[in-house]
Symmetry: C2
Subunit: 426 residues, 2 copies
């Protein structure tokens, strides 16, 4: 059941003084707007407004995964060392892998990625080629012990990620699903309102030969990127040592001058081939009853990082500008008058909109108008509906579009319809 939310009851503490370590817009605004709070270096709590955004991103990712036939599972965060020894990564991974001994002195790690766990899990259960292909995914917390956690959610240690793993009898089947995942990742970026470029990528510690990253265009990211409006994009690293980013280059696709930026990697797809199935002994029987190693792919979306990337791309000096798709609430009704009649109208408008499926928060706090306007801009709900005493007496309310600043005066009787229409146009 969807309910109207009230600012007077909401745990949404805004901050005026920021820690010096908050250098970039998404980090500053996530703290100022009360989306997250730090518990330790690179480790954050999500407050109610921030967690609503996270859940909406998760739902978009889930919807796109389900649409291409992936199945959701939940894999352990705490993983036994044996499996990482089997794959060889217990030694290879280095200090980013957080390790501990349990009370019986058995070794474990906190999962930074789940190739070992899933390969082990399906071992012995995919008996025949008829069981393939399939793809499992999870949305879960991961831990990477970054040497220098920074930029808030952009490079945290504990983070929220969607990771999918696919299993195939042939390279062609893997390629087909890899392309489906890449297409889904493009749709996810679009539904999040991100300006992004897919680029060729290095497979790093995951392994495999073929990989692409989806980069949100932003200076705050950790990768340097050249890109073009035509859709072309490449990391400067991938262009080789001779590439000089300080001089102008032409787009290899359309010839226009390339632009330069430090991009945010929001998602990545990998073709793992038979790397994990071979080393961990995962086999299936082919049509002739012969044991074969399945081809695997893995596909990750940084959920909490995507939230930071959206803020990085979509804010102004006053605060966040949420796209409708992941706004914590779509509409904030700012009740300015403590006059009963005006307030009751604001509240009944909220109820009507909720019944039409609009997510509404009413600012019913006993605060000055200036404080409410500033908070509404900071929190970044797509539409602000201002119900003041004078306007109300004149039979009007004001609707402000956060993104453009555009204001509409709307007659009280038309409010529900007009607000719905404005929202649909955003």
């Amino acid at each position: 059941m969807v309910r109207v939310a009230y600012m007077s009851k909401m745990y949404a503490p805004t901050l005026k003084e920021l820690p010096a370590e908050a250098e970039i817009a998404s980090h500053k605004l996530s703290l100022r707007a009360g989306l997250i709070r730090k518990s330790a270096s690179g480790i954050y709590s999500f407050l109610p407004l921030g967690y609503r955004v996270i859940k909406k991103i998760e739902d978009i990712v889930r919807d796109e995964m389900d649409a291409i036939g992936c199945q959701e599972v939940l894999l352990p965060i705490v993983q036994p060392a044996e499996l990482w020894r089997e794959s060889g990564r217990w030694d290879d991974y280095g200090p980013e892998l957080a390790r501990f001994n349990d009370r019986h002195e058995r070794e474990f790690c906190l999962g930074p990625t789940h190739e070992e766990i899933i390969t082990d899990m399906v071992k012995g259960e995919i008996r025949s080629y008829r069981n393939l292909p399939f793809t499992l995914y999870q949305i879960n917390m991961k831990f990477r012990d970054e040497v220098r956690p920074r930029f808030g959610l952009l490079r945290g240690r504990e983070f929220n990620m969607k990771d999918a793993y696919s299993f195939h009898t042939t390279q062609e089947s893997l390629q087909e699903h890899y392309d489906q995942q890449a297409a889904a990742y493009g749709r996810i970026c679009e539904r999040l309102g991100l300006d992004y470029r897919p680029v060729d990528a290095d497979s790093g510690q995951i392994g495999g030969d073929v990989s692409r990253e989806f980069m949100a265009l932003a200076d705050a990211g950790e990768a340097e990127l050249v890109y073009c409006d035509c859709g072309y994009g490449a990391t400067t690293e991938s262009l080789g040592e001779d590439f000089d980013p300080s001089i102008e280059h032409s787009c290899p696709k359309c010839g226009a001058p390339l632009k330069l930026v430090r991009g945010i990697e929001v998602s990545q797809v990998f073709q793992l081939g038979t790397k994990y199935s071979k080393v961990m002994g995962l086999t299936y029987q082919d049509e002739n009853g012969v044991d074969q190693f399945p081809f695997m792919g893995c596909y990750g979306v940084g959920v909490s990082r995507s939230m930071a990337a959206v803020i990085e791309q979509s804010h102004d000096d006053d605060g966040i500008i949420w796209p409708v798709s992941i706004a914590p609430y779509q509409v904030m009704i700012i009740a300015l008058s403590s006059d009963d009649e005006a307030f009751n109208y604001a509240d009944s408008l909220a109820q009507q909109l909720v019944e039409k499926g609009v997510e509404i928060v009413v600012d019913d706090r006993d605060e000055r108008a200036g404080v409410k306007f500033a908070d509404a801009d900071l929190l970044g709900f797509p539409l602000q509906v201002i119900v003041g005493k004078r306007g109300f007496e004149a039979g009007e309310i004001e609707v402000k579009i956060r993104k453009t600043g555009e204001k509409h005066v709307v007659a009280l009787d038309d409010a529900t319809t007009e607000i719905k229409q404005l929202l649909d146009r955003l």
Copy 2:
């Protein structure tokens, strides 16, 4: 978007041979029906069918929490030792608290419970009595390094839990919310279809004076319980050393003979008082500007444990019997005939039911009828719809109610309506 699921594509490996350690029904059936798989002692993965149940339990819990005004957050799994030193529990908690050092040799633990994290988080942000009361909750994985993990999800190490924390200016306000939580916990048990009793409880390592547990009646649990059909229940432990469970006792409420059972603790509510706010220095200013320590409560629901408790109470020799509220799918359509016309009918029936909001899985596998019937009973979907060649030609299908075994013959044209009606009656 809701889609029809097909068994031929589903990752739902059923097991015939069970590990010897699986002693109780919920553990055996969770493994046999392909709901969970073990990754290490007390550490499980949830497969697609199992995770659907978990998400439904989470949604019921979320709905009941939201209904009493609680706000959802997400707190870190990895927690800094400093906070546990502040509360004194770094030393008190013992080896159940899994600890590790990060790459910079700073000490951390994996959260078995989140009083420290949340008390620290709200510190400095609740400035005034006007900010109270409020309740925050999360649904997240926790880790407790049990000395002897057993019974599958009943006593695991990594487990899924809802934990809520409330903050109040007075004991009366705490009592009021504690009562609301207890009422919500009763509703949660009812929506899960659990036969349960609330009992007075020991506060253990959480602390505080007042606590109640919600016990699912089952022999497989770890607590010994006397109970009565009138609603009375008590742990034998709470009745004192002199209480002899081997002789018959009368119910103190209604006089009927008490029954004995080892119950499963599915949830617990605690009044913490000012224990954590005092020791961690959490204060607010009262009406006179004087610093005060808020009263706190905490409230936990074992999500994965609830799934085990439901199976423990609701199964037979053939498999699980899911209540409609948390069944992975509400209806399984068993397509017996490979005849195109009959199969197309089964598929179009599935599409029609999905459009009416019914969750459907079609068993379209190339398997013998006996295998399909056995798997349908094992997996425990509330309704089985059997589309066979002979019945189809006679214009009929069969609908079986998993719980009672009752069978209904339904005309093809009436199928959607009759299946909806049967489901509503369950």
